[in-house]
Amino acid sequence: MSALGDPPLIAGPFAHAPTSIGLTMRLVMLALIPGTLVGLWQFGWPAINLFVVTIATAILAEAAALRLARRPVRPYLLDGSALLSGWLLAMTLPPWAPWWIGAVGGLIAIIVAKQVFGGLGQNLFNPAMIARVALLISFPVQMTTFVAPTPLFSADAPDFLGGLAITFGAQTYDAMTSATVLGQVHTDLGTGLTLLDILPSTYQLNQAAIGTVAGSLGETSALLLLLGGLFLISRRVISWHIPVAMLATITLCATAMHLVNPNHFLNPGYHLLSGATILAAFFIATDPVTAPVSARGRLLFGFGCGLLVYVIRTWSSYPEGAAFAVLLMNACTPLIDHYVRPRIYGRDRRGEPLAYGEDNQGTTR
């Protein structure tokens, strides 16, 4: 790594903007806090337990891997990237899943998806999404069992000990399970029902927006996550290109298909506010390590993510496709970076020096 064996700094600049990886990561976490708190409150102690287990595993795995690779542990742990990966993974898990789902997920995210590739900055795929997909394929039952929200301290909510029993024990909670909107619609459409029959009983848009519906921790409070995302854009931690392109593409696809057959295709509101759309658009697809660099490349990347999310949700056997969409586009990132490059000062789009002719004009083609 560049942390070792760098030549002494003799070239400028001798001034530096007050920025660091740690600061960037902390800003992302700050933006995640409101949505996370609401999610944790909605789903109570089991969700808190799972959240803690996932993050703790991720940090321990990072420390172990760094030590094994004989890298400086402190600076890389303090940058907060492992904590953030664990956090994002926890946001995509069913909140009442058993502890080992979080633990196995944390190990996969950090060791398989990140450190094996060479650590921070080297991984091709988003660690949290790799972990989520691996879990979904390996443990489909645990990964698709959702509960209706039972806010902390409400009558139905498990207390602290009850929470421990759910996360660490074998206590079942079948009585409380509930399908996500996308899941419900997916299943029911398969049985031949139309949206007109399904939706009224399962879904209200405003509930999805504030987060009082069944789903993963980060799938529920779309509005708070949106606010967090806008905060990140305003602080220039992320650029607007990926979220805007991704959300616009989903909206366009959903609108077009909904107009074609409103009885079979959900309207864009459902697509934007339910599932992991907002979380993915602002916090996951924008992971700089696995997204393209140039502005146009990012637009393309966001477009691809949006299109894939829509296609997977609508025509595949999975009700939600954000994780798959982001991973598939991650795979395209090197290709996008290779072909989509900005026009350089004094050169045309093809990279040739600008022509200058009789008219004495540097013309930009």
Binding site: S2, F14, P75, Y345, G362
Partner: protein, 584 residues
């Protein structure tokens, strides 16, 4: 209209363009621009490097022990792209030897050392060319050259050369670079405030020399006093088609290519010079120096230098004789205050670190910057690149700095050039915003130096290959000719021995035909060999001719071939610096 009312006349806002990225940095100008200009005292010794400009090194024309006067030429230019050096005070030449010079490499360079006598006696000044409009252009240019004027913004390219773009490039727009976008530096600001009339006179001279239709003076809007002073001086003059344009403060607006883009919307083609698009850009201090040279006959023997940074007791601007040791100048500004983390020659973004304050002020030195640990904190170890792309967002050339960094780290020189490494102006924006604190510019300098070295090797190898092929051809040809001769001889002997006869005659005829064929073949190949040798010679001659014409080091790769000479030479300098780093 009185000048005052003209001042308040709001002209329609001029359209300005943008370049990609750029950064807002704390400008720190208030540190030094509040105090008046001080005259730096005459030092005991003046150290005058022979290479204070881009191009051929100056040739000393005085001997050790000789007495010299202020303004006397002590070293002559040794080529077209070169500049003379003048004594900046009277005294005795005590040494012509290697001394530490302000250069990124930290190496020594040949200098003339004058022990001053305190009299400051002057040679008779050159006659004023106040009537320059009616004097031959070449004479005015010769005056500018004879007065040793070079670009004072830091690049130090001989001004006489730059003001003579040739008949192929008609100049429409003269741009005066008064942006002074580097943080901390205020010498151009103070010059404009105090000598605005001289600047305007300089503009008039340069505009006349170039035949430029219009002149735009670009000043960053964080210098309102300078803008007002220039506008007042302009209103007092009869100069037309000249405008003082306030441009938004954004680093690096003062980069030549960036300023041209801001003011005209045109882009200088990669590896071309601004004259290609009808633009010439001159630094504002250089403009004033041109006026001094043409109107007063004064050679360049002193310049304004900003001495600043929080590790300087009294940061301010000083009028400094070229050759004054930096230590003397700093002492004159109250000396150091507290701990000095870094002493920098130039600004914090593009300046370079000085290992010692015993180096002299040269024509290109615009700032001495002493930074405290708080101003230049230790960035800590560089962490891994997280590909955040901030570097690409701020790059004023719109490059992809992080891709160049990956390939430079991997020492993949082809790839890094494929990402247009040689378009990088080393402004430092990318490294400034990098959250991982990676010294990106250092990687680019390393890659540039390595590319130059590789190109040189390649050329030498190619040359050797051509020579080898030519030699091989020649040896084969000689061999063939020898054999043909031998066969002829043998046939003749045989013929003699047999005493004639049908068979012998036939054989002789066959042998002769063979010999002819061989000779023919040899002859048809023969011209090849000299041609390839000739090619090789021509090839290298062309190359060195191009090199000379473009003022680039002969070992630079074709990618940077038509790079403006200034840049090429700075690159070469930087390359040398990077070399020393990597070898450390």
């Amino acid at each position: 209209m009185s000048p005052v009312s003209l001042l308040h006349y709001r002209r329609p806002r001029r359209r300005l363009w943008r370049f990609n990225g750029g950064i807002h940095v704390p400008d720190e100008k208030a540190l030094s621009n509040g105090r008046t200009i001080a005259e730096a005292p005459l030092p005991r010794h003046l150290i005058l490097p022979l290479q204070q400009h881009i191009g051929a090194i100056a040739r000393p024309c005085v001997a050790v022990g000789e007495r010299v006067l202020r303004g006397q030429v002590i070293a002559e230019p040794s080529g077209y792209v070169s500049a003379p050096i003048h004594a900046s005070s009277s005294g005795t030449v005590v040494a012509i030897e290697e001394r530490p010079v302000p250069h990124p490499s930290g190496l020594a360079g040949p200098c003339i050392v004058i022990e001053t006598d305190g009299e400051d006696a002057e040679v008779a000044p050159l006659p004023s060319l106040i009537d320059y409009r009616h004097i031959d252009r070449a004479k005015v240019l010769e005056r500018i050259r004879a007065c040793g004027i070079v670009g004072l913004g830091g690049a130090s390219f001989p001004t006489g050369v730059k003001l003579n773009p040739g008949p192929d490039h008609p100049i429409e727009t003269l741009i005066i670079n008064a942006a002074e976008c580097e943080p901390y530096i205020t010498c151009d600001d103070l010059l404009m405030r105090t000598r605005a009339e001289t600047v305007i006179e300089g503009v008039r001279i340069i505009q006349h020399l170039l035949g430029a239709k219009e002149c735009l003076i670009g000043v960053e809007d964080n210098k309102p006093e300078a803008i007002a002073a220039l506008r007042a001086a302009l209103a007092d003059s009869d100069l037309t088609a000249t405008e003082v344009v306030a441009i938004p403060t954004l680093y690096p607006s003062g980069g030549e290519r960036q300023l041209i883009r801001i003011l005209t919307g045109k882009e200088v083609p990669t590896s071309g010079i601004p004259a290609l698009i009808g633009v010439v850009c001159q630094n504002v201090s250089t403009t004033a120096a041109v006026a001094d040279a043409v109107l007063d006959g004064r050679p360049l023997t002193s310049r304004l230098v900003t001495v600043t940074g929080r590790a300087i007791a009294e940061p301010r601007n000083c009028e400094v004789r070229i050759g004054t040791p930096a230590a003397d100048l700093i002492a004159h500004c109250g000396g150091y205050a507290g701990e000095v983390r870094k002493l920098v020659c130039g600004g914090p973004m593009m300046g370079f670190k000085l290992e010692s304050d015993q180096v002299p002020i040269t024509k290109g030195t615009n700032c001495l910057l002493a930074l405290t640990p708080a101003e230049a904190p230790d960035p800590g170890p560089a962490l891994a690149c997280i590909r955040c792309g901030r570097c690409a967002e701020v790059c004023p050339t719109n490059l992809l700095p992080q891709q160049m960094y990956w390939h430079a780290r991997a020492k993949d020189l082809d790839k890094v050039q494929d990402y247009n490494l040689f378009d990088c102006i080393e402004c430092g924006c990318c490294a400034h915003v990098c959250p991982s604190h990676i010294p990106l510019v250092q990687y680019y300098r390393f890659a540039k130096a390595a590319s130059w070295a590789r190109e040189k090797e390649k050329r030498q190898a190619e040359h050797a290959r051509l020579r080898h092929a030519a030699k091989q051809e020649r040896l084969e040809r000689e061999q063939r000719e020898k054999q043909a001769k031998l066969r002829e001889k043998a046939a003749a002997v045989k013929g003699d021995g047999a005493g004639g006869g049908d068979a012998a005659a036939k054989q002789a005829a066959i042998a002769a035909a063979r010999a002819r064929a061989a000779a023919k073949q040899a002859a048809s190949r023969a011209p090849d060999a000299p041609r390839s040798a000739q090619d090789a010679a021509q090839h290298s001659a062309q190359h060195s001719a191009q090199d000379a014409a473009q003022g680039r080091p002969p070992d630079s790769p074709p990618d940077c071939a038509p790079t403006p000479p200034r840049e090429a030479a700075t690159k070469a300098g930087a390359g040398a610096a990077a070399h020393t780093v990597t070898e450390d």
